[in-house]
């Protein structure tokens, strides 16, 4: 605390107004991020106290802690993973629609996820629900199941709008609204200077078009792929940022494998469809290579067309999930020490919040970099698919 107080004092003492504004902004972000996790801290502590787990002897890691106490990895998986409700804070859970296709009965059941849980002290307690069609459902490990049916033999296909899917809709909606608004500006201000949202959007689009897409693909084919790559970039970026906004449930859209899988598959399909004669010849015949080596090289080249999008998927998912896990780990630290005593928890909170703020800024950067890298690599794959024979 001392360090930070003196740091701010030092920073504030500069006479330049911009430095002062920066310091104030930093302070606001500091408080904001700190506060956004406070509800979790408070909830955790209340939970711990109720179950009487703050041990007199200070040993929180007793055998009871595993059952009822704070489990760091479970908490992290819970927050990073997908869910059937959005946890805003405390007891406030936003229910999401559950849509289930029942293979046995051949029907679709649709109901609110609020039927499947009750909120007690900030935690969900799951219960079963029988739909109007007479099917019974419950939630087990975050999955909709029919009670009594073993895992792996599930008779259900879950088409629910989960938290991540909701986040994806939200991200796409934001991208749609922002860019169609900008597009209207281009129609309205045709032949005139840009105004309003155009000025926000234009440098980004210009940057992507002139410094990423066109140099990567080449003048000839760039215009064909620009709309797709712009969509990919802005969706990933907005989705990444969405995951960093506190108080809206901690979306982990681009850290959800199902969603990044879809992106990777679309990239794979577009690359494969775009591939010209030279591209396929290069992969399947490996011209100019001695025959024995061809036997090794061709399978590798062939596999690479699948590996490339797969790597895209893993990189994005892992990076974003890792960022969330790190921030949550710092929250977890506070909760773990909070179980020893409230004061220890508060003491750890100071350091933890400082690191969270640091990580928050890193994550803001990562949000952009991952979107950039995904777009750049996709553009390079397209270039490869459209490569002309001379090179």
């Amino acid at each position: 605390m001392h360090n930070f107080a003196s740091f701010f004092k030092h920073t504030m003492n500069f006479n330049f107004p911009s430095t002062r504004i920066k310091a104030i902004l930093l302070l606001v972000v500091f408080l904001f991020v700190g506060l956004s996790y406070t509800n979790k801290v408070v909830a955790g502590e209340a939970h711990g106290q109720e179950h009487g787990e703050i041990k007199e002897d200070g040993h929180a890691e007793s055998h009871t802690a595993e059952k009822k106490g704070f489990d760091l990895s479970e908490m992290i998986i819970h927050h990073v993973g997908d869910a059937h409700a959005i946890h805003i804070f405390g007891d406030l859970y936003l229910p999401l629609p559950v849509i289930v296709y029942n293979k046995d009965k051949g029907g679709i059941d649709m109901f609110s996820s609020s039927n499947l849980y009750e909120v007690k002290h900030g935690h969900q307690v799951f219960k079963s629900y029988t739909s109007s069609a007479g099917n019974t459902y419950t939630l087990e490990h975050g999955k909709i199941v029919t009670p009594g049916v073993a895992h792996g033999e599930s008779n259900l296909i879950d088409f629910s709008i989960t938290k991540s899917i909701m986040g994806m809709f939200l991200a796409l909606l934001i991208v749609l609204l922002v860019f169609t608004a900008a597009a209207r500006g281009y129609k309205k201000n045709s032949g005139k200077a840009p105004s309003g949202i155009q000025n926000v959007v234009e440098p980004l689009i210009m940057f992507l078009r002139d410094d990423l897409i066109t140099p990567a693909i080449g003048e000839k084919y760039a215009p064909k792929y620009t709309p797709f790559l712009l969509t990919i970039f802005f969706f990933i970026w907005v989705a990444n940022l969405l995951g960093l906004i506190p108080f809206i449930g901690g979306f982990n859209v681009t850290g959800t494998l199902s969603i990044t899988l879809v992106l990777a598959v679309i990239v794979f399909i577009v690359t494969t469809v775009s591939g010209n004669k030279h591209y396929w010849k290069h992969i399947l015949l490996a011209p100019g290579i001695p025959l024995p080596i061809k036997f090794i090289l061709v399978p590798i080249e062939f596999l690479s067309i699948f590996i490339k999008p797969f790597v895209l998927m893993v990189r994005l998912t892992a990076n974003i999930t890792a960022g969330h896990i790190i921030i949550l780990s710092f929250v977890g630290l506070i909760l773990m020490y909070g179980q020893q005593s409230v004061n220890t928890g508060l003491g750890v909170a100071i350091g933890s919040v400082a690191f969270m703020v640091f990580m928050f800024f890193i994550e803001l950067l990562v949000a952009f970099i991952q979107a950039y890298v995904f777009t750049l690599l996709t553009a390079l794959y397209f270039r490869e698919a459209k490569q002309e024979p001379h090179h």
Partner: protein
């Protein structure tokens, strides 16, 4: 960890559907007008710059030709001035010469007139003197010449007078 690394059919379905719909809408209603607007504007700006450059060149050309014209005009003016100055000099000297000639002629004429008048006057005087002489002679003749010497004196004085005139 299992929940993180699992892929759900439903999520894949919704993600594909929403992404493809969004891609379609964005392509048609956002990227197309934006990218077209951008390239349109780039074209307009390039054209504007091009025409500005041309206008600048045109201006430079005009300026150069103006300069030439101005130079020409200046030379012409100088030539005109020189000519005028020369003409003025000529006129003045001509006028002077003429005036001098005229004045000379007038003086000459006046001299000639005077000479003539003088001659006329002299001849008239001579005539009158002759008349007077005749009259005097008459008078002298009419009068009794008391002496020859007196007579001669008189004649001589008269003649003397005559010569003086």
């Amino acid at each position: 960890m299992e929940s993180l690394m699992s892929v759900s059919v439903g999520a894949v379905f919704w993600a594909s559907l929403s992404f493809l719909i969004a891609l379609f809408i964005l392509k048609k209603f956002a990227w197309k007008p934006i990218l077209e607007g951008l390239s349109e504007r780039e074209k307009t700006i390039n054209e504007a710059l091009e025409s500005a450059k041309e206008a600048k060149e045109e201006m430079a050309r005009l300026k150069a030709s103006n300069e030439d014209l101005l130079q020409e005009a200046r030379l012409e003016r100088e030539a005109l001035l020189k000519e005028a100055r020369e003409m003025k000099g000529n006129i003045v000297s001509n006028a002077e010469a003429e005036a001098k000639e005229k004045a000379d002629a007038i003086v000459k004429k006046a001299m000639a007139d005077i000479e003539q008048e003088k001659k006329a006057a002299l001849s008239e005087l001579k005539t009158q003197v002759a008349e007077f002489s005749v009259q005097i002679a008459e008078k002298v003749v009419k009068k009794n010449l008391s002496s020859n010497s007196d007579h001669m004196d008189l004649v001589e004085s008269l003649m003397g007078d005559l010569k003086l005139n």
